[in-house]
């Protein structure tokens, strides 16, 4: 079903349908993650992929036209590029261990330590949260900083911060003195 959705995204010309289909694609991959017992990832995919990005894409759609331009360039070069990339990825998976095998670095490196320590150290049933926020606290701080930077970047690019700030200054002079950004 994922493949079918991807193909219809590639062939459809109506941007509105593409946005809806990419939402469907996100939901389907969320289901796939659930089937693999990665509930946290599935949750994120459903909320971010199917929820927010669809809304933001619709917001962008309101800024542009409703249908993609038909291109008259040769379709051969993109096809070759896609096939080469796909073949390289397949070649890469040949070296990967079998799905679910227990003697891989993923299963033997730090995972046993974490799983045996979490009940003693942290007393939190959800191991994902414990690892994310405690053992890997730096990483999560970095991710939050990435979100912050991305947000600031979008604001600078789209909303024209300087213009808005001038307008704001007129209305509420006191609020900006405690500025944090």
């Amino acid at each position: 079903m994922l493949v079918v959705t991807a193909f219809s995204v590639a062939t459809t010309r109506s941007l509105f349908a593409i946005v809806a289909l990419s939402g469907v694609f996100s939901l389907l991959s969320a289901l796939l993650f659930i089937a693999w017992d990665a509930v946290d990832v599935a949750f994120t995919e459903a909320a971010v992929g199917a929820g927010i990005s669809t809304v933001l894409m619709l917001g962008t759609l309101a800024l542009t036209s409703r249908a993609a331009k038909t291109s008259h360039k040769s379709k051969l070069v993109p096809l070759v590029a896609v096939i080469m990339t796909g073949a390289a990825m397949f070649y890469g998976t040949l070296d990967m261990p079998n799905f679910g095998s227990i003697d891989t670095p993923v299963q033997t490196h730090v995972r046993p330590d974490y799983l045996s320590q979490i009940p003693e150290d942290i007393h939190i049933p959800n191991a994902v949260t414990a690892i994310l926020a405690s053992y890997r606290g730096y990483d999560t701080l970095g991710e939050t900083a990435v979100v912050l930077t991305a947000g600031i970047g979008v604001l600078m690019l789209i909303s024209g911060l300087s213009r808005r700030r001038r307008d704001e200054d007129k209305e509420e002079n006191t609020d900006d003195t405690e500025g944090t950004t």
Partner: protein, 146 residues
């Protein structure tokens, strides 16, 4: 969307539930799937759906842009500040044991809760800020255009 009575009523019913679910995902993240990132997104969806169905001006009254912009930074500061706090008490950066040295696991609980709140606040405000930035560029579509 002044004429869509069904949408307006359903949205009014749903917004509260969405916020409640976001808070549940946020603070129950220790026991069930979810955490700051997911809760932040769900919370932002609550504001965005309100903005779409009613109007941008109304949601800006509820959650004004200057507050959104301050909260973006506040979330990260809350997270980083937790680390600074634990460093002040002589522990490693982001070592939550510092919060309650006598009961290390208590400290871990609280620390995780606090940093997740920080993550949630930042994600919510970034999403809402991006939505504001996008939708205030265009006039809102009239009903016929849909």
């Amino acid at each position: 969307m002044r004429h869509h009575l069904i949408l307006r009523v359903i949205t009014k019913l749903l917004v509260g539930t969405i916020f409640l679910f976001a808070l549940y995902v946020q603070f129950h993240g220790d026991y069930s799937p979810g955490g700051g990132f997911q809760a932040g997104v769900i919370m932002a969806v609550g504001f965005i759906i309100y903005g779409i169905v009613f109007s941008l001006d109304k949601v800006k009254l509820v959650f004004p842009p200057w507050l959104v912009h301050k909260l973006i930074a506040f979330g990260v500061l809350l997270y980083a500040g937790t680390g600074v706090y634990s460093m002040m008490l002589g522990y490693g950066y982001l070592d939550y044991t510092a919060i309650d040295p006598l009961h290390p696991s208590h400290g871990q609980h609280l620390g995780i809760l606090i940093v997740e709140v920080g993550v949630g606040i930042t994600v919510t405000s970034v999403m809402v800020a991006v939505y504001y930035a996008f939708s205030s560029r265009t006039p809102i579509l009239s009903d016929e255009e849909w």
